[in-house]
């Protein structure tokens, strides 16, 4: 049930970086948090979301070629969080690692859909050149519907394939593998903080601004 809800949320929110002027609803922070809320473990979902957000902080939610980083948080949340009882750290780490290749595949699907929208855009342009906005409106509506359907199909495919893989692998993660994954989950937030430091330090640049403030 929560998987279906998450798929719907993902499908609708994925319009955010595609068609509607981005509101950051498609970002991993929001996706991870919503996955956590829907699956009963909000804090862990949000932690997943924060980590993914920091990791991919330099990928803007607009433009044609960038990949849909919110997908990772949504998938990882849905696999590792459902049910009552405490969440295992190894489950979160494993889910995150498994979700990444699906997001990369998702990018190919995104680009394929965008390429095949050419027909719609050509008709829209032809309409405009005759003074009609109808084909453009229709094109945008149709594109949005196709995009949501694409997101739903992608989510269900990734969830069934990846979820099955997750179910297979999780019991086998014992001993040193488990210890390693739990250590990774403990270290990853520091990677997130380091990524933020790296990103912000690039904004500060070569220090000329503070030198001019001080008067050097």
């Amino acid at each position: 049930m929560s998987t279906a809800l998450m798929a719907l949320v993902y499908g609708l929110f994925s319009l955010d970086h595609f068609a509607v002027g981005p509101f950051l609803l498609s970002r991993p922070l929001v996706m991870g948090g919503v996955a956590g809320l829907l699956c009963g473990h909000p804090a862990e979902g949000l932690a997943l979301g924060f980590f993914a957000e920091c990791l991919w902080i330099m990928i803007p939610p607009a433009g044609g070629g960038h990949w849909d980083v919110g997908f990772v948080a949504a998938l990882a949340g849905v696999w590792s969080l459902p049910g009552s009882g405490p969440v295992e750290k190894k489950a979160l780490a494993l889910a995150f690692l498994l979700a990444i290749p699906f997001a990369v595949l998702g990018r190919q699907a995104d680009q394929w859909v965008r390429r095949n929208m050419r027909v719609l855009s050509l008709r829209a342009l032809a309409g405009i050149e005759h003074g009609l906005v109808g084909p453009l409106r229709y094109g945008m509506g149709f594109a949005a519907v196709v995009w949501v359907l694409k997101s739903l199909v992608l989510f269900f495919l990734a969830d069934s394939l990846g979820g099955a893989l997750f179910e297979e692998l999780l019991p086998r993660v014992t001993g040193p593998w488990q210890e390693g994954l739990e250590q990774a989950w403990a270290l990853w937030p520091f990677l997130g903080a380091g990524a933020l430091l790296h990103h912000f330090s690039k904004r500060i640049g070569n220090g000329a601004w503070w030198r001019s403030e001080i008067g050097l």
């Binding site: 904004r203 070569n206 601004w209 030198r211």
Partner: protein, 161 residues
Amino acid sequence: MAIVLVRIDDRLIHGQVVGGWLPVIQAERVVVVSDRAAGDALQTGLMRMAVPDGVTVDVLTLAQAVPSLKTGAWGAQRVLLLLPGLQELAALVDAGVAFAQVNLGGLHDAPGRSMVAAHLAFSGDERALLVRLVKGGVRFETRPLPGDVPVPLNELIPGLK
């Protein structure tokens, strides 16, 4: 003066240049060589506003740029040279400025141009200019962003070199 990057981009200063290239090349000065932009106070003011603090923007006409480029006018500063098109590059080369490598960052869709890549479109005249410049020894690399994989020009335009 060290010209760290020579970039051809018909949008001049925009997101990819400021957000993608400037942090990587750490340029302290951006020199735009464009007769049209030099005469447009609106564009010049906006370009100055769009770059980070600590980076200066000079917008020069071709006539002003040639002596500065030939004599190395900006001390030891790292300079990003921005040109709006191949015509400006050819004019500078004809005036005697030497370029080793030029980044073809973006020539976008316009009447008369046909696309060869997502960020590159050439008209017939521009193709001829490219052939002339390549024969003259200028090397081109085509990357919109520093993290992209450079595609050799002869892959995009068959029959070049």
